[in-house]
Point group: C2
């Protein structure tokens, strides 16, 4: 506190300007609403039935409160605690301007490898409304202060408290507000408050995201539950998002990290909303071991069963992030096969998924396969134009380098009216394949990002 009170006059001026900027943001939102530019209350692609009924994970407790970081009238800070004996793994954005909490998490994970503290339990503190990114040393100090306060409250080492922040870039984290909320958070910690946690981490999300799996290993049930937030700045390495997954499996940290990294390549690194990569992307997985089912390696029957269940939860959360892509009205799966290598297949698929001309055609329900050809061509992948085939759903549109003689545009026009679409490319060169997911690009995306400051 004393450190914060001694902040220079320049910082006070910064703070006043920050408030002015917040007020401007609110004015902008109000104007947008007046102009009828308000985005839909909930994405048309949201899963039916609202937030799923996630299982309680023994050893994990959650709490969420309203700390007033930026928003008002909603929770904006969440705390999760993991019992002694838990293990932790994480994957983070590769942005070279990554945020202070990301750097802090990465340093702490590295330091835990040979630490005596790695069986003393962990905690995770997350706020929305402020990303604590591009905030220099002040940002690093703010992370130290808030995570240190959590460590003191929960009586665990400082290095065992992870954090994430999402929201506006370049503004000072109001660390005092967050620290002042920790007592309330601690007193509310509960095993069945995961839905509150999922709500507190939302920014421009239109629905809270959750997924779960249960898998029987050696006759015992292992539970996995996860939450995520999107929904702009979504592109690989990783998508712009925070994802937190919890399990009662007993998994040593290196094994957990290997499984998480492997599945991340096939899930979160295979989605894009707008090709922009956030400074804050974080995926953190905690395994409490409370089920007493031990997974000692990604291989073997148990390892494969657990890994598949974990991958399923990750894929479902990745899909939910795309389904809540800003302005999205269509969910698009792109399958590329017949490539010489997996990286080539992935590169072609992502070039299609990131193409604004493909995404606007999908928005307009226009089966404009010429734009798919364009995107394959610009991908940088070495392809043979005259071997390329393209399907919209089951409809063969282009057959080895030219429009199929059997192609009826009526069919693809009808197909494009669906909400869930599938474009398949066969490059005709080999046996490698890749699948990625994206959404369409609509005027609503422009409204959200031109008229609002999130």
């Amino acid at each position: 506190m004393s450190e914060e009170n001694s902040d220079s006059e320049a910082d006070e001026v910064r703070e006043l300007k920050q408030k002015l900027s917040e007020l401007r943001g609110k004015l902008r939102v109000a104007r947008g609403e007046l102009a009828g530019a308000e985005p839909p209350a909930i994405s048309p692609l949201a899963p039916r039935g609202g937030f799923p009924d996630l299982p309680v994970i023994d050893g994990v407790r959650f709490a969420a409160v309203e700390a007033g970081v930026r928003y008002s009238g909603r929770n904006d800070v969440m705390l999760a605690s993991f019992s002694a004996g838990s293990t932790i793994a994480g994957v983070f954005t590769k942005s070279s301007t990554r945020a202070a909490p990301v750097l802090d998490c990465q340093e702490k994970l590295a330091a835990l490898v040979d630490s005596d503290n790695n069986n003393k339990g962990f905690a995770l503190l997350v706020n929305s409304g402020n990303a604590n990114a591009f905030t220099g040393n002040k940002g690093r100090n703010a992370v130290k202060k808030v995570t240190g306060a959590v460590a003191a409250a929960l009586n665990i080492p400082d290095g065992n408290v992870f954090s994430a922040s999402t929201g506006v870039i370049g503004e000072k984290l109001p660390s005092r507000k967050i620290i002042d909320s920790i007592d309330a958070l601690e007193s509310k910690l509960s095993g069945d408050a995961i839905a509150d946690a999922a709500g507190a981490i939302m920014t421009t999300d239109t629905f809270a995201k959750g997924a779960a799996a249960e898998v029987v290993i050696d006759g015992q049930t292992v539970k996995i539950a996860g939450i995520a937030k999107g929904s702009g700045m979504i592109a690989p390495d990783m998508a712009t998002m925070l994802v937190f997954i919890f399990t009662d499996a007993k998994v040593n940290a290196p094994t957990l990290q290997r499984m998480v990294s492997a599945k991340n390549r096939l899930t979160f690194n295979c989605i894009t909303v707008d090709s922009d990569t956030s400074t804050s992307d974080s995926l953190i997985v905690a395994a409490t071991g409370k089920s007493n089912v031990e997974i000692s390696s990604p291989q073997g029957k148990s390892g494969r069963a657990f890994s598949a269940a974990l991958g399923g939860v990750m894929r479902e959360l990745a899909h939910q992030v795309v389904r809540d892509g800003e302005g999205a009205t269509k969910f698009l799966q792109i399958d590329v096969r017949g490539a010489k290598t997996k990286p080539t297949a992935h590169k072609v698929a992502m070039a299609i998924a990131n193409s604004p001309l493909v995404k606007t055609a999908v928005a307009g329900e226009d089966p404009n396969w010429g734009r798919v050809v364009m995107a394959i061509g610009k991908s940088g992948a070495n392809v043979n134009r005259d071997l390329i085939s393209i399907w919209f759903g089951d409809i063969l549109v282009a057959d080895q380098g030219w429009v199929s003689p059997d192609y009826e545009e009526d069919d693809s026009v009808a197909y494009m009216k669906q909400q869930e679409l599938n474009i398949t490319i066969d490059l005709g060169l080999g046996r490698a394949s890749a699948t990625v997911w994206t959404c369409d690009l609509t005027k609503q995306y422009i409204s959200i990002n031109a008229d609002y400051r999130s």
Copy 2:
């Protein structure tokens, strides 16, 4: 002709389907117009005063006619002829699905290097409405037929006729219609019809693009005039566009090619509208030598003077392509300096220029510099976050890693209301720099590309 008459029944079916698709396109346009989604008649960023008064280039003649390739009520084919003794250079899209005329031009340019035909004059045939891309061997044959017909009409070798096509991908080029128009084109060839040529190559362009320079070398005036078309699928390698430049300088082909390639890297490869790369990008430069001013090398006083004038025409045309970017309302120059290498500076600048979140913020007149930080971070360039400074115009927004204490958001809010904007980044790492140009991303871009099939 006989070859075309012998086309199989499958091809006839293809043709009927193509017509149906064209009708559907027209219906789509009509619906868009009814819904008020019609884009503005002319870009607000268009140069004042209409198409410029370009100088006549001795040795170059132009003609344009309506051949009915796809559009009606406007010219859609243009022919240019270059007198004996002319030289030719070209730069083309790097797309791996590049169109048939691009492949044809590249082969012909390569074959001319040691050919006896390279002083017999050249011709250039360009159509709009159909890109002749992803059309397999039929597409290659169509190029051979139309360029062969021009060669016969002008009595020059087949290998001396270049061509370009722009428009819909994947549909068969109506070569008979184009061949049937060649007599009319030949009879209209005239030294002062460059404006007609510029009009005939337009697709979704809202204005015809032209630029010129005159430079005095050894007491004699050398003239350069160029035309271009945009305006979607604009990204480097190269931009989605056709550019044709003509000069009366006498320049040997290898020297011309070196100068064109060097200036291309600084002009057309430094613009982006939407990050999508066309299958048809072509830049062709012809030098007739009629001025008798000889440029024998890019170096030396004459070479540098000519090269600078050529680069100026190319930059002006590149800017006009951006100014006619689909839906554009703001012209944005991005300067990156303080990089260790030029490729790094270019990579950072293009990441900013291609970011949908930066471009929508510009559309919304929001000085959202956090998105600039994000784009720098995702560029893949090796940067030090705490050394980065950012200016909007002359306003220092972020100073070495954090918001400048002197920054007043009022200033940048006022600045963003301008039509011509400049964002400058100093990476603080070295002395290399790069400049790129782009436009904003608006709802109009979505309208044009979701509601229309160009």
